[in-house]
Symmetry: C2
Amino acid sequence: MSVKNLLVEAYKQTSYQLVGHGHRTIQMLTDALKDYDDLEESDMYGTGKIIEQFQAKLKECLGKEAAVFFPSGTMAQQIAMRIWCDKTGLKKVAYHPLCHLEIHEEEGLKKLHQIDSVLLANETRIIQLEDIENMEEEVSCILLELPQREIGGELPDYQTLEAISSYCRDKEIKLHLDGARLFEILPYYQKSAKEVCALFDSVYVSFYKGIGGIAGAILAGDEDFIQESIVWKRRHGGDLISLYPYIISADYYFTKRLHKMNQYYEEAKELAKLYNECEAIQTRPLEPVSNMFHVHVAIPKDQLELILITIYKETGIGLTRNMKATSENSCSFEVSIGDQFALVPKTEIKNLFQRLNMKLKEVTP
Amino acid sequence: MSVKNLLVEAYKQTSYQLVGHGHRTIQMLTDALKDYDDLEESDMYGTGKIIEQFQAKLKECLGKEAAVFFPSGTMAQQIAMRIWCDKTGLKKVAYHPLCHLEIHEEEGLKKLHQIDSVLLANETRIIQLEDIENMEEEVSCILLELPQREIGGELPDYQTLEAISSYCRDKEIKLHLDGARLFEILPYYQKSAKEVCALFDSVYVSFYKGIGGIAGAILAGDEDFIQESIVWKRRHGGDLISLYPYIISADYYFTKRLHKMNQYYEEAKELAKLYNECEAIQTRPLEPVSNMFHVHVAIPKDQLELILITIYKETGIGLTRNMKATSENSCSFEVSIGDQFALVPKTEIKNLFQRLNMKLKEVTP
């Protein structure tokens, strides 16, 4: 068994975990189904009470003319880009180099839609207004991911967002929000979803990040845009005869967790502080702006894994199941706060970080 | 309320229905979940016990090197076409004019994959070897849909299938099976799924037609083909973090109904005979070759709907909820036999068809 598997195995054996909502088991579905009568009618190709009510709820929440449920964000966002490109006749969009479309979708945007990308900012920082003003090529659409997940979940300040939105409107560039973690950033901005979405022409939100559903996404925008997206959803093979297993769970966990985003945010700040007090550790952002952050550790990955495995066994508390090497002598992992953090006794967390700090001091030159 | 809605409403009020497996309610899902422990781990991006075991089972059943679960057949089949076209460098495939890809997918194949289609045979009959031999254009792949649903579920004889397969191999044309209803035709051919699939390079099967699951499909073929299809699945946005709600229900109803396909086939023949004994009615095929057929009635749609509504009310038995006008003076509807036919008392079916025949005689010139 590789060291990585040992970390996962050790994590699975822990009684408490500081991240996430818990293991992804089918209980996520059976819990969500408990409120429903067995005789409730299935949705059929985008029609029916279950899908229409949820779409109406999210349309209201996001303050857009229309909203449609998609099986995945990958599908929803490629389609949003395609519609905006077709509208202007220019098959080019701009986004961050670590955008989901650029690094996690096997070039679907290019291979299925023949849309080229212009990369804004770079892998070390988020997009600022200047990056857009200085863009040398014309694009149909700019996609902003809030927060920028792959660099730890950083956010521009709200004035920057407003300035970018206003600039794009002036220049007739469509602005799309990758809001996979939109609900998670509202406490930091102290804005409603509707206020943030008003800055964008189209918006995608996910139901299995902070919300913790099984899968699925909502795409929202004006009526024309959404009607077109429904045609593209069929073309992509996403207009399943029934999507209710995802919708029921999305709705259930949305209701259950939307009001907890502030708690997750406060807990993320608390946990990041504990990490930053340790030798050789720095979080990114230093102070989180959502429920997530990255932990960067200046020791080799294998060494940190062995330390964590020991700590998991000694304390019964898991910190992460994943880890990646960022260089020969450094590594990092992602933290997303969910329901589980609050379940762990504070004194045990304190004890854990004392142990971690001690072990890191032993191995740091 | 329109006449069409009245038909649907009257159908919903019936105690028995001669078609299908029953109303699509969320009980389809809760029943399937009953055999599972709540702590069963979710599949994750194509990995995990639930998805891997089901893929292995279907790979065996279809006799192919590899199989992968897709959320929809639309996605699976476009991807199959794309892979075969990319292999030969020729973006053209051939299929029937009433093929799902041609009439139900909003031109996804052309708009997403830039693949052109050559239409074989015509809307009144199925594809024969001669249609392929006489094809004037070169294509990468030929898609055969067995049975050809939109003309009532007709089938070529098995020798024709073998001849087409052999011809395509000689000419190095890939042959793909749209087997949305593959299991439903095995009793007529008296062949195993493996035997039929051996004639094809790639195969798609569905789990919500005769099987009666919630949604989902399997694509099967050789190892290389399936590995490529997994990359395309991600590009299409079909590589959902978890697909288990569909897989669990597909597996449950597959196990429950696979052995009943012969029963459905025999019942379809029995029911078609009853229709054909009525004035102004002819089924297509005259004798079904699967669990499905179309009923063609030589009176106007509105008139037949009124007759059926009366009959549903008098007998408590529903025949169909859908109906389409085929001309000003004729209409048709589709019949697919499932679990429900066997639940209806035979004497009541006989009584129903006597009434139907009487009413049709009254209105037929």
